[in-house]
């Protein structure tokens, strides 16, 4: 091997306390899971939440410490590794229980632990009337543990543990109020839909492992120049210690670069691996002529004529679709709103649903190799963004609006990671975590307030029957119209159910009663709609700009951009619609004034913190380079994670300096946001005045309204196709089971019984007969012989004498 190879080998620092981050929530979940009920019964509700929040705080502190540790390292060595113990070593398959923090997972760990802690605090207020309080905190801690495993795992395997763990916790928490069948069904739906995604994830992983030479055959030998005897093949590479330009993603042109910078030599293991770091190392190996032996080999592989890299990307994206609720697997997320609102905020907005985005951002160096996969990601993301946003337009359940908004915003993130703007996708993930958590928690605060009113109404309606004292139905009592017969337009069923605390038509004018909730909600609305200064402006704008300028996807950038822009308009409209319908719209009624109050400080405090975050992080982390002429802070921070993608992403340069166009786009974004805002304001600011107009509009566009209101009847479509097909299939299987399988089993049973009967007969008549005959013979003989024993001594003596005489006679005769 005379060629010189270079590689961007990930330098890392080993620390041994990273495992503490997931450990703390795990401990909390264990304590609350095993002893929570006893503790709560004996010492009250303070103990379960003290345990949970204490553990969360500890995890957050360790995460912040790890983040600081990360900051101390030079940019390209920002990687902390903690290998706790070796787990599975089989052949070429090596898995350690190892945790790693790099800039991306560090960011995620901070989001999870900090927002997670906030939501734990919020839950103490929101769930205060819940009897199985301990169970809630147990699940919540378990979720955080799983999510941290997902994010901090050094390999696919650990990530998959977390991936499944968060799915489980999501299921448990959606069905938290499991006594209502609807909630349990929603949990099951989420679980089953996620399972489809998990199938994709695992299949993609298998493809990747196989593609790297994991087929355990020797046919791939020829491309490993240094195939060591009995070990993993290795490449000797030169490693540039610290590339000078942060932006320069390409490996430096060799001769002069190697002279100028500190270079050392390392050997890189190549071959199948599930460790992200090793995967990245080997894909970055570059020869002098610019060829990438391993990446090129992977690119060359095909399965059934389809490029393997595309298949890997597609399968992994299916996994991401399931977890992050993208078309066609988004249907579970709106139903997941059956769970308690803090759960919706933490799991179904801020953290778990972003796992798919995180996974694609983490594997940027794989996705970037396949323009086809990137196209799929970006297009599906853009379509989902628009599709979900239009459904959100006409929903009346405040949490459903937010759920569809989440689906839509996740679509934006996928556009970001799909067009190669990984930092922008991650940035939107971060800003979305803040503003959507704020929105959900704000809606929770409203529901918490409204609950007192609707509870009162419910009692008034059912004054006769006595089922009071149940406080655990809030958040669960809203009307779920999925499985009801389709409502007709102007149908009385469309009218609000007065006992539904989540229906926005029951609200209105709450702003005066809940000022803190109102203002934080408004700030979050600004952020999501994308008004300047608030967080969403920077992240969404960056995604749209990158989408427009990208040359990597197979569909034109302007197409994705246009979808995104329309979606952004809708976003602004439905968010302000929900704001006006909830907090303004009309003057609060006397009934509202009597029953609805501002939430306790544990709730409002968290809301204020999140609203502040919405205002701070946007300009701090993502200030556009068009204005500042510097890379945004987050882009610099994430550059070491995404620096391999530069070699593949060649587009965007054409527009890179076209600041005028970028400013024009920003103006356009602000314009559409304002358009949505004013549209919502015109229709919903004063509902009493516009009611007639709204009704006439509903009639005028009855067909469209009906279709969109019923969510394009996708659920019905799935019911009619997949659910029905599977139910029919299950019925057929049950029939086969009941008739064929059971018939065979019964036949075998009957046959066995026959054989046993024969065997029994043989035993009874032949074997027992022989035994009894022997016994009978013996008895009979005994009965005859016993007469000899007379018991008279004289007879015995006579016998002795006679015997002696006979003996004497015999001896004398012989």
């Amino acid at each position: 091997m005379n060629e010189t190879f270079t590689a961007a080998v990930q330098q890392y620092k080993t620390i041994n306390w990273l495992w503490l981050i997931p450990l703390f929530p795990f401990l909390g979940a264990t304590l609350n899971g095993f002893f929570g009920k006893k503790l709560q019964d004996r010492y009250g509700k303070k103990v379960p939440h003290a345990i949970a929040i204490g553990m969360m705080t500890a995890a957050a502190i360790v995460a912040v410490a790890a983040f600081i540790e990360l900051l101390k390292l030079p940019a390209h060595s920002r990687f902390l590794l903690d290998s706790v113990f070796p787990m599975i070593h089989i052949g070429k398959f090596h898995v350690d229980m190892a945790f790693a923090i790099d800039p991306l997972s560090g960011m995620m760990a901070l989001i999870i632990t900090l927002i997670g802690t906030g939501i734990h605090v919020y839950s103490t207020g929101y769930m205060s009337e819940e009897p199985s309080y301990w169970r809630f905190f147990c699940y919540l801690n378990l979720f955080v543990f799983s999510m941290l495993l997902l994010v901090l795992g050094d390999s696919f395997v650990i990530m998959f543990f977390g991936w499944e763990g968060v799915g489980l916790c999501s299921y448990l928490l959606i069905g938290f109020w499991y006594k209502e069948k609807k909630n349990a069904t929603a949990g099951m739906k989420a679980f089953v839909v996620n399972r489809v995604g998990d199938w994709g994830f695992v299949t993609g992983l298998f493809f990747l492992f196989w593609g790297l030479g994991g087929s355990w055959s020797n046919i791939d030998k020829h491309y490993y120049p240094d195939l060591a005897e009995g070990g993993m093949p290795r490449y000797n590479v030169a490693v540039v210690d610290e590339p000078a330009g942060g932006e320069e993603a390409k490996p430096p042109a060799h001769e002069e670069a190697l002279e100028h910078k500190g270079v050392h030599h390392e050997s890189v293991e190549v071959g199948p691996t599930v460790v992200f770091r090793e995967l990245r190392n080997q894909l970055s190996i570059t020869a002098e002529n610019g060829a990438r032996p391993l990446a090129d080999e992977l690119l060359k592989k095909e399965v059934w004529g389809i490029p393997l890299v595309f298949l890997i990307g597609l399968c992994l994206f299916i996994g991401a679709c399931g977890k992050s609720a993208q078309i066609p697997l988004y249907v579970w997320l709106p139903d997941a709103m059956a769970g308690p609102t803090p759960v919706s905020a933490l799991i179904h907005a801020a953290t778990m649903v972003t796992a798919g985005v995180y996974m694609i951002a983490r594997l940027n160096f794989v996705f970037v190799m396949s323009p086809g996969a990137m196209t799929v990601v970006a297009t599906v993301g853009a379509l989902t963004a628009l599709f979900a946003a239009t459904i959100g337009l006409f929903q009346y359940d405040i949490k459903k609006v937010l759920a569809y908004s989440t689906v839509s915003q996740l679509g934006f993130m996928f556009v970001g990671v799909g067009v190669g703007a990984y930092w922008a996708g991650a940035f939107h993930l971060l800003t979305h975590a803040c503003f959507k958590a704020c929105l959900f928690l704000g809606s929770g605060s409203v529901i918490h307030g409204m609950h007192h009113l609707t509870h009162h109404r419910e009692h008034a309606a059912h004054s006769g029957d006595d089922h009071g004292g149940e406080h655990d139905e809030h958040g669960a009592a809203h009307g779920d119209d999925e499985h009801k017969p389709r409502p007709q337009i102007n149908d009385p069923r469309l009218a609000p159910d007065p006992t539904d605390p989540q229906d926005m038509r029951n609200m209105g004018g709450l702003g005066a009663l809940m000022p803190k909730t109102k203002w934080t909600y408004l700030i979050a609305c600004w952020a999501i709609a994308g008004f300047p200064w608030a967080a969403g402006f920077f992240s969404k704008d960056e995604i749209l700009w990158k989408a427009f300028t990208n040359h990597s996807t197979l569909v034109p950038g302007w197409f994705i951009w246009a979808l995104g822009l329309v979606a952004a308009t809708c976003t602004s409209f439905y968010m302000f619609r929900s704001y006006y319908m909830t907090f303004e719209g009309r003057a609060p009624s006397a009934e509202h004034k009597e029953h609805v109050h501002e939430s306790p400080p544990s709730i409002t405090g968290v809301l204020i913190a999140l609203a502040a975050a919405c205002l701070i992080i946007g300009p701090l982390l993502g200030f556009p380079s068009a204005i500042s002429h510097r890379e945004p802070l987050l882009a610099q921070w994430l550059e070491p994670v995404t620096n391999l993608t530069g070699a593949y992403l060649t587009g965007a340069r054409a527009f890179a300096d076209n600041h005028a166009l970028e400013f024009a786009f920003m103006a356009l974004s602000i314009g559409v946001a304002t358009l949505g805002w004013f549209g919502a304001r015109a229709l919903y600011k004063d509902i009493a005045a516009t009611e007639a107009r709204l009704a006439s509009l509903r009639v005028q566009y009855a067909n469209i309204h009906k279709l969109v209101f019923e969510k394009y009847r996708i659920d019905e479509l799935y019911d009619a196709t997949f659910v029905r097909a599977f139910t029919k299939g299950a019925d057929a299987m049950a029939w086969i089971d009941a008739n064929i399988v059971d018939g065979l089993v019964n036949l075998m049973g009957t046959l066995s019984m026959g054989a046993a009967w024969i065997s029994g007969a043989i035993d009874k008549y032949l074997v027992d007969g022989a035994v009894n005959a022997v016994a009978d013979l013996t008895l009979d003989a005994g009965r005859r012989i016993r007469h000899v024993q007379t018991g008279r001594i004289n007879n015995y003596v006579l016998g002795v004498v006679v015997g002696v005489i006979i003996l004497v006679v015999i001896t004398s005769l012989v």
Partner: protein, 106 residues
């Protein structure tokens, strides 16, 4: 007459045979336990007589006499134990008829 005067081994043997026969007859025919014991004593003494006679006429040593002594001692011991048994039989059955003690037969 000389046969009568010259007492030899055969006389003793005849005597002991007669004794043995009488003892055996007693044991075989009597039902009284004490009588049966007495028959046994006769048989033992017949045997002892044989020992002494053979010792005197054939062997010439005193081993036979020693045997006879042992037999006498043994017979005394046997009689003591047997009488004790008979006594307790009597206490239990209120009879010393050997035929009455055949309860084990059934």
């Amino acid at each position: 007459m000389s046969a009568l005067l010259n007492i030899g081994l055969q006389h003793f043997l005849i005597l002991s045979s007669v004794l043995f026969g009488l003892g055996l007859l007693t044991v075989a025919t009597r039902r009284n336990a004490v009588a049966i014991l007495m028959g046994v004593e006769l048989i033992l003494n017949a045997a002892a007589l044989n020992f002494v006679a053979f010792s005197t006429y054939v062997h010439g040593l005193v081993a036979g006499q020693v045997f006879a002594l042992f037999i006498i001692v043994l017979a005394a011991a046997e009689a003591a134990i047997a009488l004790a048994i008979v006594l307790s039989i009597y206490r239990h059955f209120h009879s010393i008829d050997a035929n009455d003690t055949s309860t084990l037969r059934d």
